[in-house]
Symmetry: D3
Subunit: 81 residues, 6 copies
C-alpha cells in the first residue's frame, strides 16, 4: 500500500511546454508503480502516486527562489569559462 | 495539537458539482476535529485540518491516472456481467 | 481515493498510557474512513489513513516545544486565578 | 540536505495585498535557509524550502474553517469588552 | 529539484526479512532518480528521495488497520473458493 | 496559522553528538516561529513546527543514499586537488 508524493516545480521541461505534460505525468505514475512492484512486490493497484507542481517562486534553494538560484549558477558558470 | 492533512481528487462527488463543495469541506473539518476530541481528548482549537484537492491526472493508482484506472475497473465489471 | 495523514504528539492521552493505544488508532482510522464515505461517498477500501506520532520535543508551538508551551499556558492560568 | 515545507493560508498579510507577496516568499526562503545554516551548519544550497498556500476554506481549526474561526474569536473578544 | 516522499508499511517483503532492506532502499532511490531524469530531464543530484516506513497498525485502509484489512481480504478469498 | 515541517537527516551536526540536540530543536522552532511573525505577522501561538529526523539510508540524493553521495563528493574533491 505505498504512497508516493512527487513534488516538482511548475514549468515546462520539454520544448514548447510550460508545464509537466500529461504524458510525463503518466510516465512518472507508471514508472514509480512499476518500481515498487519490482523492488518490493507491491501490487500496483495499491500504490498511490500524487504529483504536485509548485510555483517556481514558491520553491527555494540556496536561500533564494529557484529562478534566482539558477541565475546564480549560470553566472558562476560564465565566470569560470 | 493534531495536524490532519486530507488529500482528495479535485472532482464533484455530489450531483451537479465539479468540485468538493464548501459544505463538504465544513463537514470534513468538523468531523475530523470531533473525532480527535472524542478518541484522544484533543481540544478542537488545537486541531488543524488542511484539505488539498489534487487534479485527477496528477493522482495515479494501478500504474495509471485515476480516470484511466476507473475506465479499467469499469471495463472489467462490464466483462464479468 | 483519499489519503489522510494524521500527526499527533507521541504521548498517552488515556490514564496509565504513554502513547496512543492500538484501540485509539483503530478508532481514528474507522472514524476518518466513515467520515469520507458519509460526506463524499468515498469507498472505504480506497481511503488510506496514516497516523504519525511525533516526539514532544520535535513539535513546536508558540516558538517553543510542546512541553514548554504547556508550562507557559499552565503558569498563565495559575496567575489568573 | 534539509527539506522544509511551509503551509500558510492564501491571503494577504500586508496592506492592499490579497496573497503572500514575492518579497515575503523570498524572506521566508532566506530566513529558513539561514536558520538551518546557523543552527545546524546545513549548507544553503542543500536546503529546499517549499511554500504552499492553502485556500482559507480548506484550512480548518476549532472544527470550522479559518474564516468562521476568526469570526468566533472576534465575537468572543467583543463580548468580553 | 524534485522532492519525492515514499511511504511504505514497515515490514519485510523479502524472505526472512522484517523490514525494507538497505538494498531495496537503494533500488528505490536509484529507480526514482533515474525516472525523473528520463521523463523530465531532472539532474539526479537535485532529486531528493525520502523513504518513510510506517508501522502496520498506523496505516489504515478499508476503515481498519492494514493487518486487519489483509485478514478480511484473505477471508473473502477463502470463501470464494 | 502556519504549519512548518522540517525534515533533516538523523545525525549529529555538533561535536560529539549523534543526533539533533534538544537545543538545536528549540532554536529551529524559535527561529521559524519568529520568522513567520516578522515576515507575515503570524502570531507565534498559531504556528506549528514539526521536526522529522530521517535515517541517513532513507534519504537519497544523486540516485544513492546520503552516505554514498557524500563519499562520491569527497572522492571528487580529492581528485581535484
Amino acid at each position: 500500500m505505498p504512497y508516493v508524493n512527487i513534488k516538482v516545480t511548475r514549468e515546462g521541461t520539454l520544448p514548447g511546454e510550460t508545464a509537466t505534460t500529461p504524458e510525463q505525468k503518466k510516465a512518472l505514475i507508471k514508472g514509480v508503480s512499476d518500481l515498487l512492484f519490482e523492488v518490493m512486490g507491491k501490487a500496483p493497484h495499491t500504490t498511490y502516486v500524487i504529483i504536485e507542481e509548485v510555483e517556481l517562486e514558491n520553491w527555494g534553494v540556496g536561500g533564494v527562489t529557484t529562478p534566482e538560484y539558477r541565475q546564480q549558477i549560470a553566472a558562476k558558470a560564465d565566470k569560470s569559462t
